[in-house]
């Protein structure tokens, strides 16, 4: 299930959706990304008052579906949930949930980590941070590019 929405989500409810009535699942790995209260851009360390997320409707869903497919080709995954929020968020707010259920534990961990890495580098979302010194578009992190490249080497 792939969803792009302004509304918040509840990890417990998402877990119930994929696990109830599905007793063959051995493990579920989830990742939640949160809005941090400081900007790590270019050596700055400024308090963030808000973050706004823009996206490219249509392409977002298409790219997320491709990433899910790639993960399913690589590991045996029972269920995949991807929820990404858009719009204005505050520090501490949830941004993204990736939840992967699998018969085997390491498939769940690797699948969720893989999806997060490619979501970060392929899904068309853009973050704008508001700090005391103004509003600024967040720049690409080389660590995210590197994290996605890990999977190509294997």
């Amino acid at each position: 299930m792939i969803q792009v929405q302004a509304e918040d989500f509840d990890i417990g409810q998402e877990l119930k959706k994929i696990s109830s009535g599905n007793d063959g699942i051995g493990g579920v790995c989830s990742f939640i990304g949160l809005v941090r209260d400081f900007s790590g851009q270019q050596g700055e360390d400024k308090k963030i008052s808000s973050m706004t997320l823009e996206h490219y409707p249509g392409m977002t869903e298409k790219q997320l579906a491709k990433i899910e497919d790639a993960a399913r080709q690589r590991w045996e995954l029972s269920e995949v949930t991807i929820i990404h929020r858009i719009g204005r968020l505050a520090p501490g707010d949830q941004i993204v949930l990736v939840m992967v259920a699998a018969v085997h534990r390491n498939a769940a961990f690797d699948g969720a980590s893989f999806i997060m890495d490619f979501l970060k580098t392929q899904a068309p979302f853009w973050k704008k941070e508001e700090t005391g010194s103004g509003v600024k578009w967040v720049e690409e992190k080389s660590s995210d590019v590197g994290s996605a490249q890990r999977w190509e080497k294997k």
């Binding site: 990304g33 392409m59 979302f125 853009w126």
Partner: protein, 83 residues
């Protein structure tokens, strides 16, 4: 063709979306960027450093060398920063 701009490219060009006819002699995205830059103003600023610009052709990431036709949807945006 439909051309879309996101994030600071939308702010600099001043528009999010426009419909244009494939200009004469333009066969790829690099050519389209040249055409848009020639408009001057915000467009010239938006495309002044194309190393900061990413492109999607019909919702797939592509290089600026990708060939285009009049029925395509082309989007310009900075590197993505979701998650």
């Amino acid at each position: 063709m439909k051309v879309l701009y996101f994030a600071w490219l939308k702010e600099k060009t001043g528009i999010g979306e426009e419909d244009i006819s494939l200009p004469e002699n333009v066969t790829d995205i690099e050519g389209l960027i040249g055409f848009l830059k020639n408009r001057g103003g915000g467009f010239e600023k938006a495309f002044s450093d194309t190393s900061l610009v990413r492109v999607a052709l019909n919702m797939e990431h592509v290089q600026v060398s990708a060939a285009i036709k009049d029925s395509d949807e082309i989007a310009f945006f900075p590197p993505v920063t979701g998650g």
